[in-house]
């Protein structure tokens, strides 16, 4: 393609850099680029000089060196002789763990609260508004600290369970709520337990197929099978049968007070619970708002049209309102998930060993590798948030309503 032919072509004057639309965009960009490079150079040179002056250097060798500290809640093998890299891995997994748990519960809380806020029951809807307003208008850090205080200052210490005149007792002899965390029974996998698990997984698959089949049957013959109780039955009966056939291979490891602490079972530490609960209720309040807005964004006419076709309220919800509302709800929901992940970095306030607390906290401190640690930390969060927004873009492309 030719450029705009104009008579002055060839006779290039300096003023054209500013006045000619062809060049001036390059001029501005060039200036911006130069400024950017200058800034980078300035920061870089300073960094070099400062490091040289302090006799430091940038090196990631510390990642391979034993970390030297212990972490209380780890999902992978870790001890004080493991490397700093391993400690960072523990942190990453813990971040993902708490973020995952919080996303799950926040969604549940948010959906319930959001729907309840639209309830015709005045009391319930007012109660939910109060919940939403209170929780989203108070900083999440205060919530985390409050719930943590609630855990540590109000729940009994393990030794309150001790002795003949114990002031606290376990729930069903299986659950213990202490100020160090909550202890729940852990499953013990005996021989043959794999069969039971496999049966259970198969039942889940069967349920999915059953439900699909029900819809298919409806489509083909117009017969509507019940889905409620068969689902339950398929889930429970075969697994239970298999459990007894195999001779009860799965036992429970109940927590019991031994020495200073409860032993056995699964321990969910107080910091994890505080963080998890606080993030859930805080973000739940935001999600409730998103859910409410999403449902309200669907015009009343949709409900009326569906109702006047004879669809029952439950079907109206499932077939007409929800599919539309979800398109509105899911994008903000995903950015709430992102917020949860980012806010989980407040773990550091309660001593939960997430990535900020291990890599950005203890490792940074014990090794003094501030720049390296902060850089790695940012890289981690950036990776997560970029992947989530990539997913979101794909979703948005796929669900956008077809328009003329």
């Amino acid at each position: 393609m030719t450029t705009m032919s104009d008579p002055q072509q060839g006779s290039f004057r300096l003023s054209m850099l500013l006045n000619d639309t062809r060049y001036r965009s390059y001029t501005f960009q060039f200036i911006a680029l130069v400024l950017l490079i200058a800034l980078m150079a300035f920061l870089g040179v300073n960094l070099m000089r400062n490091l040289a002056e302090a006799g430091l250097n940038i090196s990631y060798d510390f990642l391979g060196v034993p970390a030297g500290y212990d972490i209380n809640q780890t999902l992978i093998d870790y001890n004080s002789q493991s490397s700093n890299l391993r400690a960072a891995m523990v942190g990453i997994i813990n971040t993902l763990l708490v973020a995952f748990l919080a996303c799950l519960t926040a969604t549940v809380i948010g959906v319930i609260a959001g729907v309840a806020r639209l309830s015709k029951n005045w009391l319930v809807s007012k109660l939910m508004s109060v919940y939403v307003e209170i929780f989203r208008n108070i900083p999440v850090l205060i919530w985390i600290l409050m719930i943590y205080t609630l855990m540590t200052a109000v729940l009994p210490a393990p030794n309150a369970f001790r002795g003949d005149n114990a002031t606290s007792s376990m729930l069903f002899d299986a659950f213990a709520f202490t100020n160090r965390g909550v202890y729940i029974p852990a499953p013990v996998w005996g021989p043959g337990s794999m069969m039971v698990v496999a049966t259970f997984i198969l039942s889940i698959i069967a349920v999915v197929f059953y439900r699909r089949y029900a819809v298919k049957l409806l489509f083909e013959t117009g017969k509507l099978l019940p889905t409620g109780w068969p689902t339950l039955a398929i889930l429970i009966v075969p697994t239970l049968l298999m459990f007894f056939i195999m001779g009860s291979p799965i036992g429970l490891d109940l927590p019991a007070l031994k020495g200073f602490n409860f032993r056995g079972g699964i321990q969910i530490g107080a910091p994890l619970i505080a963080l998890w609960l606080a993030l859930s209720v805080y973000t739940g309040a935001f999600i409730a708002e998103n859910v409410r807005a999403g449902i309200q964004a669907i015009p009343k006419g949709q409900t009326e049209a569906a109702a006047s076709l004879g669809l029952r309220p439950k079907r109206v919800m499932n077939l007409v309102i929800l599919p539309q509302a979800l398109r509105v709800i899911i994008p903000p929901l995903i950015s709430q998930y992102l917020n949860i992940t980012k806010n989980s970095s407040l773990a550091i306030a309660v001593g939960y060993a997430d990535i900020t607390a291990t890599l950005g906290g203890i490792t940074l401190n014990q090794t003094g590798r501030a720049i390296e640690c902060v850089l790695l930390l940012m890289l981690f969060y950036l990776t997560i948030s970029l992947s989530i927004s990539a997913i979101m873009n794909v979703y948005n492309k796929n669900v956008s309503l077809k328009e003329r």
Partner: protein, 317 residues
């Protein structure tokens, strides 16, 4: 990078202390900082600026203290910090001396019935992160082949809270820290400090590596305080001693003879000011953490070498 000049120009010394450890550094009800570490800061300010009140106290946690010093936010860190190889060499700091020889201990409630740290198998331990004690703890339990659960905390205040609430069975830090923490309890008698001392913790003030002039100033202020005790100079008699002393070392120290102050880039009365405002090492110890105080620490290793302790100031000559 001449910290001394900066401090003089600014007219204030920026001194890093803990966020609150009674007896070592804590604000009183009026918001004024007091304590053993605080006194060292004030002595440096008195020596350099002639005014013990010309100090900005910057509260730091175990984690933030080193970055505060490295970034220049503070000129001087007096925060019961242990002198270790890696801090000196790898983190590029200079410890100017030791003002308290300490070791790491454990505190447990009496009711727990524990009498030795080796009985702590399976215990939950409150531990300040970013400290040497965190690393020692891991080593101690590993070498004794027993297990524990760490509860990481940021500040002594939090540790105290958790410990009292029973969220941890035992609290471990420098023995001096334990004593001072216990002193603030409602019933200090219900808690015991276990006999094992699991590490050496020589606590001392530190400055950035590389500024030797500033390092010298602060180092010799600290030694002046120690030497003063050895030489019998106290806040009460310092004025008089500087006038008429027969001991030439005292005269050099207090600036009535020689040019030690000038060599440091300070005025002649530098040490006199420091001692006059804060007292000598012994006075400072007694006033803040000594046996007369609720904290009640004995001099022990921190006695003068003449009394069988480790406090030993090089000669002022």
């Amino acid at each position: 990078a001449a910290t001394l000049d900066d401090v003089k120009a600014r007219g204030k010394l920026n001194c890093g202390v803990t966020t609150g450890l009674v007896g070592f550094a804590a604000p009183n009800a009026n918001g004024e900082w007091e304590g053993f570490d605080v006194a060292v800061c004030r002595a440096v300010a008195a020596a350099v600026l002639g005014d013990p009140k010309a100090v900005e106290f910057v509260p730091t946690t175990g984690k933030t203290r080193f970055t505060a010093l490295a970034s220049g936010e503070i000129d001087f860190l007096a925060r019961n910090t242990t002198w270790t190889f890696s801090r000196d060499v790898d983190l590029k700091f200079d410890f100017i001396g030791v003002n308290y020889y300490d070791g790491q201990g454990f505190m447990v409630p009496k009711s727990l019935g524990v009498s030795s740290a080796k009985d702590l198998d399976g215990a939950t331990v409150c531990i300040q992160t970013g400290t040497t004690t965190e690393l020692n703890l891991a080593d101690f339990f590993r070498s004794n082949n027993i297990s524990y659960e760490p509860v990481p905390i940021e500040t002594n205040a939090e540790g105290q809270q958790q410990y009292l609430a029973g969220a941890c069975d035992t609290y471990t830090t420098d023995a001096s820290g334990l004593a001072s923490t216990r002193a603030t309890f409602e019933n200090p008698g219900d808690h015991v400090i276990l006999p094992e001392i699991i590490s050496k913790e020589p606590l001392g003030p530190l400055v950035r590596h590389g500024d030797n002039d500033w390092g010298d100033v602060t180092r010799w202020v600290l030694y002046a305080l120690i030497a003063a005790e050895e030489l019998g100079v106290t806040s009460a008699n310092v004025e008089e001693m500087s006038m008429n002393t027969t001991n030439p070392e005292v005269a050099r120290l207090l600036g009535s003879e020689g040019t030690l102050g000038e060599m440091l880039g300070l005025d002649a009365g530098w040490a006199k000011n420091a001692i006059a405002s804060q007292g000598n090492y012994g006075e400072i110890f007694a006033k803040n953490i000594g046996e007369e105080t609720p904290i009640g620490l004995a001099r022990g290793l921190n006695a003068q070498w003449t009394d069988g302790g480790l406090m030993y100031a090089p000669p002022f000559r």
